[in-house]
Structure formats: C-alpha cells, structure tokens
C-alpha cells in the first residue's frame, strides 16, 4: 500500500484546486453576512503577525518601549477585532442554518475553535504582566480549580501561562481553522432554505 498515493487520491477526490481557490461562487452568496468569516481570518492573521513581533522581543518589551507599546496595542485590538468578527460570523452562520445538508462537522469545528480561542485570549490577558493579568490570574484560579482543571493549568504560573499563550493555543487555533476552512471549501456554501419548506412549517 502506497500511503502517499492514497493521500494524493484522497486529496484529489475531496479538494480540487477550484475548491481550494475558487473562481466561481453560487449566486446566492451575495451579502455582507458572508464577509465575517474572512474578516475573522484577517484579524487572526493580524493577531499572529503582531504576536510574532511581541514574541521576538519578549513579554516586558511593551512596558519599556514606545514601539513595544504600539505593537502590544496592535495585538490588543487584533484580539478585539478577532472576537468581534468571530461572534458576527457565528451569529450569521447560526441564523442561516449553515450546518444543514451534512455540514455539521464544519459547525462543530467552528464552535470548538471558539472554545480554544477563548483560552488563547484568556492566557493572553494573563500574560500581559500588568495588574489586570495579576488580578485575573488570582481570581480565575478559583474557577479553574473548582472544575479540577487547576490541577494542570495554574493561572498564577507565568511560565506555564505564556507558553500556552504563545505556542499551544495559537497552534490549536490555526490547526482547527485550517480544518474548518478545508471543510468549508470542500462542501461549498450551504443552499438557501427552500421557501416552500419554510412556509409549510
């Protein structure tokens, strides 16, 4: 059995170049509501780029450098934009019933991404090395401990928090987003609700 050939065949069957890089789109994809997903992805790109710059110079950089403070500000507003667009994206997909016709996996991976992104953002707030991060750490430990997670995730341990924020959660988010996008392109945008069906109900 040639595993590489099987992967080739699987990919050709499930993800053509036209799927991955479409030059045509169904005519019903014709609303601002379809832009929030790309906007979320754009904010994620900004988050990763600004996060990489902050990672190069270290967590204390923004306390002592004007340039550092600017990049920290970019990262902060990228996070705000990311969650703002993500909420709008999820809300519109929910209201369009985007999980129909077998697209439940795309929906579930999206919800899972939201869950992981919340922890990515949370560990970011804990990594700010400010009073906010200090206060949030000592407050949040009680909730983490209450559900048993505190045994493995110590919000007051900066070494653990910052590695989770810089490496673990972003990696998970990017992997989940990649799978989410692959499913979206593989399945194509969901059809509009049939009016007849809607009228009967």
């Amino acid at each position: 059995m040639n595993l590489t050939r099987r992967l080739q065949e699987y990919t050709q069957r499930n993800m053509t170049l036209e799927d991955a890089l479409p030059t045509r789109m169904p005519v019903y994809v014709n609303s601002v509501a379809y832009l929030f997903g790309v906007a979320t992805l754009s904010a994620l790109v900004m988050l990763i780029l600004t996060g990489m710059i902050l990672a190069i110079f270290g967590p204390n950089w923004y306390h002592v450098s004007g340039t550092g403070r600017f990049f920290n500000s970019l990262h902060f507003w990228s996070a705000q934009a990311f969650f703002g667009c993500l909420v709008l994206h999820m809300l519109t997909k929910l209201l369009l019933g985007a999980w129909r016709d077998g697209r439940w996996k795309t929906w579930m991976i999206g919800v899972l991404t939201l869950g992981v992104a919340i922890f990515a953002g949370f560990t970011g707030y804990l990594s700010a090395t400010s009073f906010s991060s200090m206060w949030h750490a000592v407050q949040a430990k009680d909730a983490m401990n209450a559900i048993g997670v505190g045994a493995f995730f110590n919000t007051t341990n900066f070494g653990q928090v910052i590695t989770l924020h810089v490496a673990f959660f972003p990696f998970l988010v990017v992997v989940l987003v990649a799978i989410h996008l692959a499913y979206i392109r593989h399945e194509s945008p969901v059809r509009p609700y049939p009016l007849e069906k809607e009228e009967k109900s």
């Binding site: 499930n14 993800m15 053509t16 036209e18 799927d19 479409p22 030059t23 045509r24 789109m25 005519v27 019903y28 994809v29 509501a33 790309v38 906007a39 754009s42 900004m46 600017f70 920290n72 500000s73 902060f76 507003w77 969650f83 929910l94 369009l96 019933g97 999980w99 016709d101 439940w104 929906w107 919800v111 869950g115 919340i118 953002g121 400010s130 009073f131 906010s132 206060w135 000592v138 407050q139 909730a143 401990n145 209450a146 559900i147 048993g148 505190g150 045994a151 493995f152 110590n154 007051t156 900066f158 070494g159 653990q160 593989h186 399945e187 194509s188 509009p192 609700y193 049939p194 109900s201």
Partner: protein, 318 residues
C-alpha cells in the same frame, strides 16, 4: 470541483469570484481599522502590585497581610486541592467536587511558605529575626494563636513612624520582630524573590507564590478602585474604559445574580452552566427545536432576498 461540492451545487447558477482579491481587500480593511484603533487607544498598562510598593506606601496593610497568613487566617490555609488536602471548603455540587479529583498538585502551606521560609532567609543577615523565628518555632500552638490574635487586633490602631508599623504595647511574643523582618524584606524589594520555591533559579518561571501573597485584601482593594471585582463584571473589562475580554460576559453574568454571587460554590456552578451552553452550541445541528432557530427568526430571508426574488429560483433543492 470535488464530488462533494459538485453534488452540493448541482443546478445552482454560479457567478465569477476572486477569493484572493476579496481576502486581500478585507485583510487591508481590518488591518487599517486595527492600526487606527491601536494608535488612538493604546490599552492601559497598570503596574502590578509589588511588595516594595505595598511595604513603603501601605506598611500596615503589608504587615496585616503577613500577620494574617502567619496566623493561618489566609483563605489559602484551608483552600484544599491543589494546594493542600483540606477538602472541607472545596466547591461541590450535588456532592461532586471536581477540585478533589487530582489531589494536591501544587503543595502550599501559607504560614510556612509565605512567612517563615522568607524570614529564615532574612535571618541569615538579621540575627533579631532569626531569634524571633526560633522563639516562634519553640512556642506552643496556643501561644502562637494568642500572640497573632492580639497583634492583628492591635494593627487596627497601628501608627506608622519612619515607615515602620507601631502598635500599642502588648504580649505579642516574637510576632512584631517577625513582622518587622517581613516589612524590611518588602521595603528592600526582596519579597517576591524570597517567596520563590523554584530550585532552578535563576529560571524562576513559576510566579505562583509571589502572585498569591497579596491576593486577598491588598489586591481586592486595588481591583475595587479600578471596578474590577467579580461583582463589577471583573475579568470582562480592562482598567479604565478599554474593552476587556467582553466575550466572557455570558460567564461573568452569573456572578452578578444575587444569591449565586455569594454562593460558596459559585465558580463551579458558573463554569458548569457555561459548559452546558457550550455543549448546546456544539450539538445545535442535532437538537430538535433549537436547530430551527433560523426559521423562527427569518434572518435568512434578508440575506438571501435576491435569491428568493429570482423568477426561477425558489431555492428548492433539486
């Protein structure tokens, strides 16, 4: 197209589209918005609560914190897992206490780790502190309790002279000398270093003890002045008027509900409610009734209005 997308789009009219162009335009727009916001409203950088600041500006609060910990009054003293084995105060619901499932993973004895161990380090260069610690260790539990109780009560009327805490004369045993040792440690800026338990110094990446030392009254009072306590929607907003993680509002709201906000198991209840919401959202496609929310609201008619207006396109799936 792939078999799947061919099947899904069979019979649907298509229009020209440029994914890369659309993506770059939106990325450009989002980047400009973020850059403008970043220039106009950089987020606050409120300094941390440091031992040296508290010791010099609020010496009575510093000493009160240390004395409470020494007396065993700190909430961490009988917190339970992951710090210690006392599960009497552990949060539980219907008899189930997840906090106890994994045992003591971060051993912590506040009176020893937060006061006695740092003082033993001070004792190396301050013999008075060394003698006080020796007297404390040699004393009975009853004596220790009487000294700390009397000293903490006296702190209510304490005065500050030359940066040092003065209390009325009384039988406090070695406690005043020990507290002076702690205060000096704080003033010297050495408190956080003395609290470190990491035996891999200088790679002291676990900041837990330094973070937990002031977690009660001192941190609480700072948070209160910044409107950041749990009853003030705590974690969901930043210092000042900047947005915090507002996406945690659905979680923080449970701490605003009278009755629940004072419930000793509030954290566990709030987290379990959020877990239930998450599972509902996750399995929404399969939950009868809830998966018809789009049909009840009808937002889709607005989004797909052009499609429904097409003469041949009633949207019926072929």
């Amino acid at each position: 197209m792939s078999m799947k997308s061919d099947e899904n789009l069979r019979g649907v009219p298509m229009k020209p589209y440029d994914l890369i162009r659309e993506g770059l335009i939106i990325l450009g727009f989002i980047a400009v918005v973020i850059i403008v916001l970043a220039i106009a409203w950089p987020p606050p950088d409120y300094p941390t609560v440091r031992g040296v600041e508290v010791a010099t500006r609020q010496p009575v609060a510093f000493v009160k914190t240390a004395a409470d910990i020494l007396a065993g009054n700190a909430s961490l003293q009988d917190y339970g897992p992951p710090y210690n084995a006392d599960t009497a105060n552990s949060q539980k619901l219907l008899g189930i206490a997840p906090i106890t499932w994994f045992g003591v993973r971060q051993p912590l004895d506040p009176s020893t780790d937060f006061v006695l161990t740092p003082l033993q380090r001070v004792a190396v260069f301050n013999k008075d502190v060394g003698a006080a610690v020796a007297a404390w260790k040699a004393a009975s539990d009853d004596s220790r309790a009487a000294w700390t109780k009397a000293y903490i009560a006296a702190l209510d009327k304490a005065t500050v002279a030359n940066g040092n805490v003065q209390v009325a004369a009384g039988d406090y045993g070695p406690v005043p000398a020990m507290m002076q040792g702690m205060l000096d440690l704080g003033k010297a800026g050495l408190l956080e270093g003395a609290l470190e338990s990491n035996d891999r110094q200088p790679y002291a990446l676990d900041t837990s003890r330094a973070m937990l030392f002031f977690q009660e009254d001192v941190d609480e009072s700072v948070a209160n002045t910044l409107d950041m306590t749990g009853g003030q929607w705590g974690i969901t907003h930043e210092v000042g008027n900047h947005p915090g993680p507002w996406w945690l509002w659905p979680y923080a709201i449970w701490y605003q509900i009278p009755g629940l906000n004072t419930n000793p198991n509030a954290d566990l209840i709030a987290i379990l409610i959020m877990l239930a919401f998450f599972l509902i959202l996750f399995f929404l496609p399969f939950i009868p009734g809830l998966n018809r929310i789009p049909l009840w609201i009808g937002f889709y008619k607005l989004v797909w209005r052009d499609w429904y207006k097409r003469p041949s396109g009633k949207g019926k799936k072929k």
